[in-house]
Symmetry: C3
Subunit: 199 residues, 3 copies
């Protein structure tokens, strides 16, 4: 639990950075950048927990997550030029963020007794819906509708975790499933891979 | 209950088709079309149940609804040209979908002990909010703000059901209220009827 | 409680007017104007209560709030030219609305046993998220991302209330915190004050 908790805080921190940077072409003020960092970091998990009726929400019961977000946003402000130039770094952190949150979301749904189908959807929601909510509020087409393979990578990683779950230990399963999501995502960006289009 | 359950699955199936088709001018990939089908089918009922604190959500506790959505999306993919050409058929199915979901939403709220005012709003939400969520995420002006009489038809049908409820049997009341919504909606489209505008 | 209840109804009434007017450049029909009035009035408190798992929602358990909204919308229809010309009046009522709802939201979260950090966020949500939801659904950039100091005023007022809370009586604290929010907001609009921008 100790290590998982630290990973969750680190994931929240990186999600807040990617959220705070999301608006940069619109020259957001401090509040707007903080708010989009906050939405990106807590949106997916909050939607999952509301849909599963799992209360209290993590960030409501433990203010550490709010401080991790604040720390991420302040880091973005202080090192704005450095951070926003690191496109490859951001891709990597965003991929780590969505993959880690996806697998933690799958585990939470399974532990609460929900079916594998629901767990896979909730895992994907945990990973990507923070960004979707952020994009919707800022009047952008959400990333899942426009970019290279994204939510699909989360669903594949969730499926991998659920299939391997009875056979291998949790740490190995997490490592394999997270690596799968990150690999698919990074390859998709570098090769420009998209899913087939309808028509 | 047997027949109602089958109707709910059929309604979900048709809503998923209309959702999967909603993006077609934007050339969605498989994931995007599936996701919009999913949102359209479950959005309204999910919002209603979250607002009424009625858990577990239907599609979370019964994976049949997820498979009905998947079946609808696959049908759209396989018969894309055929399905998207059937404009009148789509109008009819969409009207049947919103009217059926509206009345089921009204009944659910009444059975949970809520007031008629709340039941009417929850019925309308069940019918139209899936499409509203879909349109919002895909950066469209939601249908309820732009088209011919739509949500108002659901509110009128809900009111009809609530007024007749003490006097006639449930199957007759459902049939009359659903027919009222479908009729208003179809006439509105064919005659181009809109509500009066504010100034 | 008597006076607070009346204030809540009055706040709801004014929020419904500002919501119904929000679409006026788009020539909304009756339903659209009513619906945006409704969303503006109930959106923030509803989001707060869903996140805090505080059920039943106020407007679900007490239809008076729905009638206050309806009364606000009808007032807007009947006195449309008069009301929409009163720009200064609208600014004042909107400022009173967001400040009152912010402080009531802070108090609710504190009374439910949540931390000051969460109470401040929930207060701000109560004040501004109705408008954010309305703007998002109608495809506008939400007010909190584009206007002069807005949500930040709510956060400052919430902080003021939480800091003074142990030292002064509730009516004085409410009056001071609400006055602070209204003052910041009105000065920001008249002086065109914005927060510093990122970059």
């Amino acid at each position: 639990m100790g290590i998982q908790y630290i990973f969750e805080l680190i994931g929240t921190f990186f999600f807040a950075i990617s959220g705070a940077l999301a608006l940069k072409d619109k020259e957001p003020d401090w509040f707007a950048a903080t708010f989009t960092g906050f939405l990106t970091a807590i949106g997916g998990g909050t939607l999952r927990d509301v849909l599963l009726d799992s209360y209290p929400l993590v960030w409501v019961s433990d203010a550490s997550f709010l401080y991790a977000i604040l720390f991420g946003v302040v880091t973005t402000f202080l090192f704005h030029r450095v951070v926003s130039g690191l496109k490859k770094t951001i891709l990597l952190f965003d991929s780590l963020g969505i993959s880690f949150f996806t697998i933690l979301g799958v585990e939470k749904a399974i532990n609460l007794g929900f079916s594998p189908e629901v767990a896979a959807i909730m895992g994907m929601f945990s990973g990507v819906m923070g960004g979707v909510i952020r994009d919707t509020l800022t009047n952008e087409i959400p990333i899942i509708f426009r970019r290279e393979i994204y939510a699909t990578a989360c669903l594949l990683g969730a499926g991998c975790y659920l299939i391997l779950n009875p056979y291998i230990s949790r740490p190995w399963n997490m490592a394999i499933s997270i690596a799968l999501i990150v690999t698919i995502r990074v390859i998709a960006v570098y090769k420009g891979l998209s899913l087939p289009k309808l028509k």
